[in-house]
Symmetry: C2
Subunit: 167 residues, 2 copies
DNA sequence: GCATCCTGGTTGAAGGTTCAACAACGGCCG
DNA sequence: CGGCCGTTGTTGAACCTTCAACCAGGATGC
């Protein structure tokens, strides 16, 4: 925890930016989530798991790698894969090199479901993100995203360093 | 549903922007949510309810208005206020002008909790958003947010129009 | 007045996420 | 080998969100 003695509050203009940003993100992700749920019966987090698997060599990945690719916790992934397995979209295999390991593999059925879901999802993304922004704004959004991501990554590194400092 | 016969897929560059954006948003909101949960015992959605109430005249709002301010469904809000009421941060009152209505009001305790939570939350927002972006990028982010929001708003209107068209 | 429809709000069940606890395995060092 | 620690993955409970169903009260039309 940093020093809270001098909080740099947001001024009026900053608040406007902040709220506009949060509103847009909330509505946007909610829209995508609802679209996928309605048309393909899965939330966006599950769709991204299928995408990650489909792009992996052999359409299979170890759970821990899958978790890191999807920015997901192990626990969440474990629950999610359990559901995807019950649907018959993914199957679990033993990992030959490490007996702790578990490998999630996309089934043919799962690949088909993903192919069917992709069209609607991509269309929604294009309509509500790419089509409403100019090329200039898109470039800017990419830069902004990378900057925010970088800020969070170094932050996590800092947090880890502080943890060690406590010991 | 629109015509899916010619899906305009994302090219490589577009995919990069898309993934960078989603990664940044996911990590960012997760970070804020975790910070609030850890330091103040509530998720961000609940924090925003308290904020909305604190800014309303008399620190009270009707449920439906509160829902629209917070971009929340009625159901979600109902559950959330139930929890906030159990904590003693919000109380429900009858609405004098409409006997169906229910009014959520921030308690003194709730206001105190909000004040205590605000410092850490605003600090996190500043560190991971405002501090990592240039003034130019912030202006751009505001424009982008407004454009996306507008795109979703007209889309909702279209959806509603299509609903009517079906009848 | 009354039938009808719409709006405001709540509820319960089902599904998703988080957190803490745990079991099982690998790696390392004595 | 044997003890110890870090990693991998799962589990169950608690919590949050969503969805559909529902009740109660206003609004409209006859």
């Amino acid at each position: 925890m940093g020093d809270m003695s001098e909080v740099r509050w947001l001024n009026g203009e900053e608040q406007q930016v902040w709220r506009a940003f949060m509103t847009a993100v909330t509505k946007f992700t909610e829209h995508l989530d609802r679209q996928l749920q309605r048309d393909s019966g899965m939330p966006m987090a599950y769709y991204e798991i299928l995408v990650a698997l489909s792009e992996a060599p052999g359409r299979a990945l170890r759970m821990s790698e899958l978790a890191s690719v999807c920015h997901s916790s192990r626990s969440r992934l474990s629950h999610a894969v359990a559901r995807l397995e019950k649907e018959g979209w993914v199957e679990r295999r033993a990992c030959p090199s490490d007996r702790r390991g578990s490998i999630a593999a996309l089934t043919e059925t799962g690949f088909g479901v993903l192919e069917a879901a992709a069209a609607g999802h991509v269309t929604a993304v294009r309509e509500h993100l790419f089509d409403v922004l100019t090329p200039e704004q898109l470039r800017s959004l990419a830069e902004i995203s990378r900057a925010v991501d970088a800020g969070l990554t170094t932050e996590c590194a800092n947090a880890r360093r502080e943890e060690f400092a406590d010991l």
